[in-house]
């Protein structure tokens, strides 16, 4: 992730990377690389980009803010809502500083266009959303820190599904009503979920259904929005790996018969997006916030808290899983 962010900074301009911290030093690196996180402050940076395991995020972020540095942190924002609150407290202590989290899916062109279509009122009232985000678990699944609940806070839901939840929250307000099934089917030697299903409803009656999966065996991103006057779907999402396909937005407005009833299968418009500009837009927003005081719109700590609370609600809504998870985090699994 650090490399991707670095490239985006170079492309944007106005950033000078003075030092990097990694688990090992690189003799060929063009910038100083340290292994002790505290050593980066020797270089007196204005900004810290935080790309560390989830359990380390709160300390790194709070330390940076309290030392007067603006912070861009990768998602998820820690392991749980308490972690987010800790960071919010540091943010409140340092009101002049920018804190932004990398929920970059909001910046994808197809998602932005879908948002414009909903916001313009063209589609009418939103009825429901369906999101599927999944992959094939990957190499070293059991050894990866992402699947150690003490470090990550959870499995596929908190790692990948959280992006879909963030988009749900962008299109509709909070979802207090949650039902879920959370399970572990394939990677049974680690105590984190490899599938999470959630059915949610907000106070305006908007329903959202999520399936987040590490056993989908193909990389797949699908977000569908159904509204009174038609529907939108986004299939595929441009990613660094390129394995989730081209981003394709389909949008259709209903055709009505003479009695005003929708005729099935309306004409739809398909728009394909082949260039991933999300990293650039995200960096631009952060730059504008730091340099020109522009507000952060995507990835605020409040959005981070909202989505973390929703993740916790989904874990808690499956009683069997909830019990198992609590034990796992306490190391009693």
């Amino acid at each position: 992730m650090g490399q991707i962010r670095h490239q985006a900074m170079i492309k944007h301009g106005g950033f000078e990377v003075v030092a990097a911290c990694d688990t090992h030093t690189d003799p060929n690196a063009e910038i100083p690389v340290v292994t002790d996180p505290m050593r980066v402050y020797d270089y007196d940076p204005d900004v810290i980009f935080c790309c560390v395991p989830n359990n380390m995020i709160p300390d790194v972020v709070c330390e940076a803010l309290d030392r007067g540095k603006h912070v861009f942190s990768e998602k998820p924002p820690g392991r749980n809502s308490d972690d987010v609150r800790k960071m919010q407290a540091a943010e409140a202590r340092n009101p002049a500083l920018v804190l932004k989290f990398g929920f970059n899916h909001r910046f994808h062109d197809a998602i932005e266009d879908a948002k414009r279509l909903i916001d313009a009122g063209t589609m009418g009232d939103l009825y429901f959303m369906r999101g599927v985000y999944g992959k094939a678990g990957g190499a070293n699944y059991a050894q990866n820190w992402r699947n150690d609940p003490a470090k990550s806070g959870g499995g596929i839901l908190i790692d990948q599904g959280i992006h879909m939840l963030d988009l749900f929250l962008m299109f509709a307000s909070d979802f207090p009503n949650v039902q879920s099934v959370v399970q572990r089917k394939f990677w049974t030697d680690v105590p984190v979920e490899d599938n999470a299903f959630a059915l949610m409803r907000n106070d305006n009656g908007v329903v959202a259904s999520l399936h987040s999966s590490a056993t989908q065996w193909q990389h797949k991103f699908t977000l569908e929005l159904y509204a009174r006057g038609g529907f939108i779907s986004v299939n595929g999402i441009l990613s660094a790996s390129g394995t989730y396909g081209t981003e394709v937005l389909n949008v259709a407005l209903n055709r009505l018969d003479k009695d005003g009833n929708p005729i099935p299968n309306p004409e739809s418009q398909e728009i394909r997006y082949t260039v991933d500009r999300s990293w650039d837009k995200e960096i631009t927003e952060f730059y504008e916030a730091v340099v020109n005081g522009a507000p952060v719109k995507c990835g605020t700590s409040q959005q981070a808290l909202d989505v973390m609370l929703l993740v916790e609600r989904i874990y808690a809504a499956d009683p069997a899983w909830s019990e198992q998870r609590t034990a796992a985090i306490a190391g009693r699994w």
Binding site: R116, G121, L253, R255, Q269
Partner: protein
């Protein structure tokens, strides 16, 4: 605000080949060709020679497209198909008014609903572009299409568009140099102008585009639908294409040629598509009905293709900007 240009694909049920026959019947073609022959003999009509109406390439370096009735060329620089000699606009308009008054009334029932789906497609096109572009189009001026499609205003009225539409029909008076449009644009500054099927039929398309841009505030949108010379139908069948009716197709722009033209005139193209639905069925009909019409690969392909495969091809053509009609959205 959308940045960059988009190329939407319009996905819908594919009409079957019966829809093709009724659209441009052989009889209609004959009537139009007779009208053209009469114009050629009419001494009151002035004709002028012209280069490629899109990129201005000299006729001498273009290729012959058709010599029947009058010369049509295919530009070797931009692929636009064009009449190398065109009649003056006034006589073109008069002839068109005559033709429209001679036409039978619009057919009822099934054909009518096909027509209405086309109108709904236009209205939804505006709605979706407006939303993506983040700019409300409260007032729209439509130029001359309502003369070709008299039921358009009723459909617009019935579907309950929230915007104000003005329909400027083809008229015998006041349309010299598109003065009727100029006056309306100056008086009302609409947010958008719709030119549907008009670019094909006029002697000086650049002139019409100049009038539109000169009389609209910057940032207004212009929605244009026209034939597309890059379409597979024109590429394979050339002047044998059933869509090629010379008097109705004085200009068949290519995507590249029209893009260059509008850029030259100061517009910014924000959306380009070739939303044709008929190329595949037209070609299938042609190759199954015309004996001895053998073209390597394609005749066999179309004779054996089922509806499913035709649909796949049609979508591929759209995605490749290779269908026989195109739509542009321009910003002034």
């Amino acid at each position: 605000m959308v940045t960059g240009m988009q190329t939407p694909v319009f996905i819908d049920d594919l009409p079957d080949s019966s829809a093709v026959g009724s659209r441009k019947s052989e009889r209609y073609r004959q009537v139009r060709n007779r009208a053209l022959a009469e114009m050629l003999l009419d001494e009151a009509v002035t004709w002028h020679e012209r280069p490629c109406p899109a990129c201005g390439q000299d006729r001498a370096s273009s290729r012959n497209f058709s010599q029947a009735l009058m010369p049509f060329q295919r530009c070797s620089a931009c692929n636009t198909i064009y009449a190398a000699r065109v009649p003056d606009q006034r006589h073109l308009d008069q002839e068109r008014l005559q033709m429209l008054s001679d036409l039978p009334p619009e057919p009822a029932d099934s054909a009518k609903s096909t027509r209405e789906f086309e109108f709904v497609s236009i209205l939804n096109w505006l709605r979706l572009t407006e939303a993506r572009h983040g700019k409300p189009l409260n007032t729209v001026a439509e130029y001359r299409f309502s003369s070709q499609a008299p039921s358009l205003p009723q459909t617009v009225e019935r579907i309950g568009s929230t915007r104000d539409w003005t329909f400027l029909p083809l008229s015998d008076s006041g349309s010299a140099n598109f003065g009727d449009l100029r006056d309306h644009l100056q008086a009302s500054s609409p947010d958008a102008v719709l030119l549907y099927g008009e670019m094909d039929r006029i002697a000086e398309p650049a002139q019409l585009l100049r009038v539109v841009r000169a009389n609209l505030p910057r940032g207004s949108l212009v929605f244009i639908a026209t034939s597309c010379a890059d379409g597979l139908e024109y590429e394979i069948l050339g002047a044998d294409s059933p869509s090629f009716v010379p008097l109705d197709r004085l200009n068949i722009f290519s995507v590249g040629g029209f893009s260059a033209l509008v850029e030259e005139l100061g517009y910014k193209a924000i959306e380009i598509s070739t939303p044709g639905r008929l190329d595949a069925v037209i070609l299938q009909k042609y190759f199954t009905e015309i004996e001895g019409s053998d073209v390597p690969f394609w005749s066999g392909f179309f004779r054996s293709a089922n509806k499913d495969r035709l649909h796949d091809l049609q979508i591929l053509l759209q995605r490749s900007l290779r269908s026989g009609v195109m739509r542009f959205v321009l910003e002034t």
